[in-house]
């Protein structure tokens, strides 16, 4: 990519007591990209976001945002949609937006224009006079995002912003997030939903053991799994399956009671069954490598 980095994180370290949460995080996030931060609970995503937003000071390392060290000034470039709904429930949608626009110094006509614009972006104009407490969870999530964007930040940090949404609402939210990128906003996304990260992110950084264990586009991340295709097999004798797979030079992974074979080349189901024969195979399915596979591959290196 030829875009310049807007967030530059180098050698970031943070320890809480005896726990080293960040152990040298290095990553550059490019302007107007959708960047996904993935990691298990406690991997350091929230700590990284807190350092990005100047909430906590790192023990070591630097973060530059738009060429400036993290400060209250750089916070003006950021819009944060926290994981929890952070709104005033008794105020209407418009009143919430007006308040948060106001604390970013927007007043009068400028504030009205910003509020109207963001109501259109998140498709909440029809609900602008509704009290937040009367909105559905999905609409509240949209407003949670809208509040983060009302001052037109250059960077939007969305922390698990679709959690608890139904499928349709999630897809609508995805469209909004894609539209932000089109408008030149850099989106930093944390999510536990692998399909969401795959569908939205230009690049993904996987935090593991306090470091960026993998970083790249979806294609680059897929290359971490030593296979071109995966086969999920259910069989009456799993031990025999493992021996046959080994004999056929297939790497295997075992997660949650299912065996997955890592195929070094494209095969048909018939080819695969022939290679594993004789086995009592109950079901077999070929599939592409997903982000979940990458994630599990990284986790399995412990």
């Amino acid at each position: 990519m030829d875009t310049a980095p807007i967030i530059e994180i180098h050698g970031l370290r943070k320890r809480f007591g005896s726990v080293e949460v960040l152990n040298g995080v290095d990553v550059d996030i490019l302007e107007a990209e959708i960047f996904g931060f993935l990691g298990t609970n406690g991997a350091g995503k929230s700590t990284t976001i807190n350092i990005l937003t100047n909430q906590i000071v790192p023990d070591d390392g630097t973060i530059d945002i738009a060429g400036m060290p993290v400060s209250d000034e750089t916070n003006r470039l950021i819009g944060l949609a926290p994981q929890d709904i952070a709104l005033y429930p008794r105020l209407t949608v418009r009143e919430n937006l007006r308040f948060f626009a106001g604390i970013y110094g927007l007043i009068g006509g400028a504030r009205r224009r910003h509020v109207d614009r963001i109501l259109d972006v998140v498709e909440l104009r029809s609900e602008s006079s509704t009290a937040v407490e009367k909105l559905s969870g999905g609409w509240q999530r949209r407003l949670n995002l809208a509040v983060a964007l009302v001052h037109q930040p250059r960077i939007a940090i969305l922390d698990e912003s679709t959690v608890g949404m139904d499928v349709e609402a999630r897809f609508r939210m995805w469209e909004t997030i894609r539209a932000l990128k089109t408008d030149g906003v850099t989106v930093v996304l944390t999510t536990h939903l692998m399909d969401e990260a795959e569908a939205l992110c230009d690049r993904i950084g996987i935090l593991h053991n306090g470091r960026i264990a993998a970083l790249g586009t979806m294609d680059q991340l897929r290359a971490i799994v030593p296979a071109v295709q995966l086969a999920e097999i259910e069989c009456s004798d799993m031990q025999l399956l493992m021996r046959r797979a080994k004999a056929s030079n297939f790497l295997t992974r075992h997660h949650a009671g299912r065996a997955t074979l890592l195929l070094p080349k494209q095969l048909t189901i018939r080819d695969l069954i022939d290679q594993l024969a004789p086995l009592d195979i109950q079901s077999a399915r070929l599939r592409d490598i997903s982000l979940s596979d990458v994630f599990l591959e990284i986790a399995s290196t412990d």
Binding site: I85, A86, L87, R90
Partner: protein
Amino acid sequence: MAGRILRELLHTRRTLWFWVLFPALMLLLFGTVYAAKLGGMDQSFTRTSPGILIGAAMFFSCLAGPLTCIVGERERHTIRRLLISPLSGTAYFFGVLWAHVIIAFGQGAIIYAITLSVGGGFHGSLWLGAVIIILSVAAYAGIGIMFGAFFAKRTEDATGPVAAVGVPLLVLGGTFFPSDNLTPFLLRLAQFDPVFHMNKAMRAVWIDGSHLSELSDTILLLALMALISIALGAASYRSMLQKEQLG
């Protein structure tokens, strides 16, 4: 900030009604109770109004209000947004203070109207009365923010500190009966009660029509208490923000 608090209050009509109803009923009750002893409704309402305004009305709105305001920011997670916004702690504090000054003036107007309706009155300078209200609100708001920052995790926790610490302060401060009824020991103790000095100042202006020159010591003391309270409130707010950041 002040606009946001007042809008929320307008949307929560029930709370607004309680804040109107409570001092109005307290004034009607105490005014009627003391009518025979004080020589008529006009005298009785005039003499009970200052205590009802400072104690019953403003105490609950301007101490409990900032307290629930702070706790509410934590409960609704809006503190997370405020933390990274350009809104400073000082601007937040003065926003809360300004909103409650407006609420206190509203309550003052209601009590004044009721007193006027029974033939009573306000005998002093309205400006001096307003200064006492502002200093009292500042003292209450600082304490409310401190309690909110340290002692109440949820809104329902707020009633505990208000009842446990606040109501004895009201009684000792002579809100519901004249301070002459206090024993010498309690009267000495009352000197350390901010409510006692607020009541004393407001009574002097409202009932006796005292001027600033006669009240300068009390006003200075109220200003000092307001400053200490603001300092405590601001320090507590900053400490809470630091805890929230680490949390």
